[in-house]
Structures are given as C-alpha cells and as structure tokens.
C-alpha cells in the first residue's frame, strides 16, 4: 500500500488570493482526503452591522466581498425593503439589474483568468484581465468607482444613469462581445483544456442537492436553480433571458456555464439600457423610517444565491442581520469533487467552485457559561475546526472520513 502523505496548502500560498488552509491527504498521486480550515478571514460583519444605521449597513455589506460588491448590497436593501414595506421605483430596478449583471461579467472574467492561470495558461489570464478592465471602465463611468460601487440604497439607487451616457455605455458593452466570443472559442475548442478539465472534479446532480450547492456550480451539474428566475427581483422578471445549464458537472462544464452566462448578462444589460431610455421617474423612494418587522432578500451573485435577513425593531439600526453567502455552501463540495483525483488536478478543482472566503467566514463564539467572549487565537482555531465539523454534520456529509490519520 502506498504511504499516505499530507500536503498542506496555505494559509498563505502562492495559489491563493485569500488566506485559507487546505490539507490534502494523498496516496502517491491520488487525493484520498481533504480538510478545509477556515477562519482567517472572519471580520464579524453581522455584529458590526447591528451598530450601524441602515444607510451605513449597506456600505458595510459591500465590503463583505470585493468581487460580489453589489450582490450583497442588493440582497441587503431588498431585505430592508421587505422588512419596512418600501416601494422601489421601476427605474431603480433596471439600474440595479444592470449593475448586478455588469458585476457578473467582471466576476466571471476574473474567474476565467484565474482558472487559466491555475491550468498554466497565463495568456488566458492576461487577456481575461485585460478585457475585464473594459467592464471596470463602464463601472467607472456609471458609478465613479472601479470597485465598491456604492450604488444601492434602501428604496432605490444612489446614482442615476444619464440618458446621454447610454450610447457610450452601449458601445462599451458592445465591444465586449468580441473578446467574450474569443474566450468562448478558446475554452470550448481547445483540446488541452478539454484534456485538463473534462471529467475532472465531477459533481453529480444528487451531490449538488445533498450539499445544497448553488450558482454555476449547481447549474453545471444539471440542477436548474437560479434565484433570479425562481424569485424574480430587481428587473429580472421584466426582461427576457435564459438560465444556462450544463449536464456533466466537471470543471469544463463549470467554465462553459460561466462563459455562456456572460452572454446572457450582456443580453440583460442591453434590455435594461433600452428600458432606461423610456422608463423615467425617480430613482429613490426616500424612505423615512423602517417599520418593526422582518425581511429577507435574495440575489443571485456570480457564485450563487446570496441571502440576507434583517430584523428591524423600529429604530434606525437592524436588530439582527444575518448573511449567507454562496461560497459557504459551495466549498464543502470540494471534498466530494477532489477525492479520487490527482494532486495536479486538485488546484483547478478547488478553484472551480470560484471560492470566495471573504464572503463565507462568519462565526461568533460566545462562552455561555462565563458569559464573556473568548477570542484567543487558539480558541479561534479550535472553534473554526468545530465549525467545519458542524457544517459537515448539518449537510449530512460523512464526517469520519475527514479524520483519516
């Protein structure tokens, strides 16, 4: 029998944007186990949110994640609007969808670049990031910022899109079609990419349902789930678009789903811009107070469904704010996907779910007996491990396999 070895990846590793820790158990070339350790990115956002008023909360949730930095605000404002029964003007809905879809393009391109980098195609990396800059230029034109757009507001949006800007935006969006087609052809036709990604890290539809995975990870395995279609919000019920699904659930299909989704996003953006020409009116209903109550908000972020829950007690601050980010559900599928594969494929499989740890890490530890908070470093590590165990238990995943050694 081959000797079992542990390969630690992280927490500070060249392959990773963010700190996270994987322990890869290998026998020869074959991966037989995976441990995921989180907690390096926990910032206590839910608790901080209770100390900020509703307008500040949106800026806070924007900084949950720099890549989905409009998905969290959209979900959050929808939760606030749901709690306070606030009407949103139609024009604001179109602007919300437009910003959300632009973000999807930039996020998927970013992923595509990184995936290319992990596979050793630095050309794809550089080209994808070069054309991503064009999307950021559109953002800069509309919102004034390259990242962290600060567009959302309970009751509407903060900035209007001027009608004289629309032709320029349309032109910039139109310019994206060519490079996107280039990427599509590069991935779909390239035999090397086929060899590296087809049949690698496959997740079946049943596994997706068992782990409650979301977003492109789920859609690549043939699970038709998209909260934009299932619970129409913003302008998604008012425009015409399709949910992209693939059947095989391997890394290749995940890439294809993301690439085709970018074309759908372009479609939505085009329709939103057309509508903005005719739909006039206010962009903000200027709510004065939030009634006591509860509200939930969903948004289909580039990685899957973002869920926000707000409980209001009638003051200007949320009494409770709960966030669930899609990577939280998606990264646990890593174990299922990576076991049985070779070490060299492990990186792309771990990257294929487009993990976003800054979204995922939420944990509060309170010592109930003494009533005081225990936050020594050792405790954090212990709690983080306990949490990982808990997640596994909740999801019904076999726990013992984790402690292989």
């Amino acid at each position: 029998m081959t000797k079992r070895t542990i390969i630690p990846i992280g927490p500070y590793h060249a392959l990773q944007e963010e700190p996270e820790f994987f322990k890869l158990h290998v026998e020869g070339e074959k991966v037989v186990g995976l441990e995921i350790e989180l907690g390096y990115n926990h910032r206590g956002i839910e608790k901080l949110s209770e100390s900020k008023h509703y307008d500040q909360t949106i800026f806070l949730v924007e900084r949950i994640c720099g890549i989905c930095s409009t998905s969290h605000p959209i979900a959050c404002v929808q939760a606030i609007e749901d709690a306070g029964d606030i009407e949103v003007p139609e024009r604001a809905l179109y602007i919300r969808s437009l910003i959300g879809e632009l973000e999807r393009i930039h996020s998927h391109m970013l992923w595509l670049g990184l995936a290319g980098h992990f596979l050793g195609f630095n050309t794809i990396w550089m080209w994808a990031w070069r054309y991503r800059e064009d999307v950021l230029d559109v953002f800069e034109l509309i919102t004034g910022n390259r990242n962290h757009y600060a567009m959302m507001k309970a009751g509407g949006v903060r900035r209007d899109i001027k009608s004289e800007d629309i032709p320029a935006i349309k032109k910039m969006i139109g310019n994206l079609v060519k490079p996107l087609t280039l990427f599509k052809n590069a991935v779909v036709d390239d035999p090397v990419i086929h060899a590296r990604t087809k049949g690698v890290g496959t997740l079946t539809a049943q596994q997706i349902i068992d782990y409650a995975a979301l977003g492109p990870t789920a859609r690549a395995s043939g699970v038709l789930i998209d909260v934009r279609r299932d619970h129409p919000h913003a302008a998604y019920g008012l425009v015409d678009w399709d949910v992209i699904v693939a059947q095989n659930g391997d890394v290749f299909d995940k890439a294809v789903v993301r690439i085709l989704e970018m074309f759908e996003s372009l479609k939505i953006i085009d329709q939103c811009l057309e509508k903005l020409k005719t739909v006039t009116g206010p962009i903000d209903s200027n709510p004065r107070e939030i009634k006591p109550g509860e509200g939930v908000g969903h948004y289909e972020a580039p990685r899957g469904e973002v869920f926000h829950y707000i409980r209001s007690d009638g003051t200007n601050r949320p009494a409770r704010h709960k966030v669930r980010a899609p990577s939280f559900m998606n990264i646990v599928t890593d174990r299922e996907a990576v076991i049985g594969q070779t070490v060299s494929d492990a990186t792309i499989i771990l990257a294929a779910v487009d993990p976003c740890y800054c979204c995922t890490e939420r944990m509060a530890a309170i010592d109930v007996n003494s009533g005081k908070k225990t936050f020594t470093s050792a405790d954090m590590i212990r709690l983080s491990q306990a949490k990982t165990e808990q997640v596994k238990k909740q999801l019904g995943a076999p726990g013992p396999q984790i402690k292989l050694l």
Binding site: Y40, R43, L48, R63, G66, L110, M126, R130, F375
Partner: protein, 142 residues
C-alpha cells in the same frame, strides 16, 4: 547607493499577503500587474514564496487568527524587505476597527514603510506608491 539598495530597487519581487481582506485590494494589485497597467514591464513580478520577496503588500485587516500567521510569514522574509500597507483596512483597520475580531494595528508588529489608503486604491495610486518608494529607498528627495 549601496549594493543592497541597488539590487532591491532594480526589480522588486512582490509577495502579496492578504489578511482578512475583502479581496478588492487583492484584485486591484493583480490588475496593476496585468496588461492595462502592466507594472510587470518594470520588473515587478509576483513571487510564490515569501523567501523571494523584496516587497510585501499587506491588504485587509488582520484578525486574531490571521495576525499570528502574518507575523510568522513576515519573519521568514529575507531582510531588508519593504512593506506597504494597501487600502484603508491595512492602514488603520478601516470600518472593521470596531469588530470584536480585529487584532491590533498591523504596524504594532510589522514595520510598515508606506501606507496607501483607499478603498481600494486605484492602480494608478499603487504605481505612484511604488515610484515614491523606490525614490525614497535610493535616498533621493520625493
């Protein structure tokens, strides 16, 4: 100009150390290196190991779990090494200052050579910071 300073400022090997960041400074760092801004043409390259680093870019706050790792990683870097705090979070804690999981200002345990505030700082700001840093290291006036 000493040999060390000359060697250090010719072609900086960059190691990017993200604490508990929101990722945005990290992607802006990468954007600075990729074709549109292309800082790589001046010899700035990302390296995979801290042991090759001349320049460490810190981003994000450092929470109680990551702070001890960051200290450890910093100690492994060959000296002299230049450290730049990128973004409001790394500079001062930003909006996460009040968080229960915020450890302490990063300059309490790592000597910082330059602060680059912004949320996130634009690639142009990063390029300007690198230029200023090199000028300073070479002992010239800014």
């Amino acid at each position: 100009m000493s040999f060390a300073v000359n060697a250090l400022t010719r072609s900086l090997n960059v190691f990017h150390l993200a604490g508990s960041a929101c990722n945005n400074c990290d992607i802006e760092i990468l954007a600075t290196l990729t074709p549109k801004y292309d800082l790589e043409r001046f010899g700035l390259v990302l390296v995979g190991s801290i042991r090759h680093a001349d320049l460490i870019l810190l981003s994000g706050i450092f929470n109680k779990k990551s702070a001890i790792r960051v200290k450890e990683v910093y100690e492994q870097a060959p000296k002299p090494v230049v450290v730049v705090a990128i973004g409001g979070c790394a500079c001062s804690g930003g909006m996460f200052r009040d968080s229960y999981n915020w450890d302490q200002p990063v300059n309490k345990y790592i000597p910082i050579d330059a602060y680059l505030p912004g949320c996130p700082p634009k690639p142009e700001a990063m390029i300007s910071a690198v230029v200023k840093l090199i000028t300073k290291l070479r002992g010239k006036k800014l």
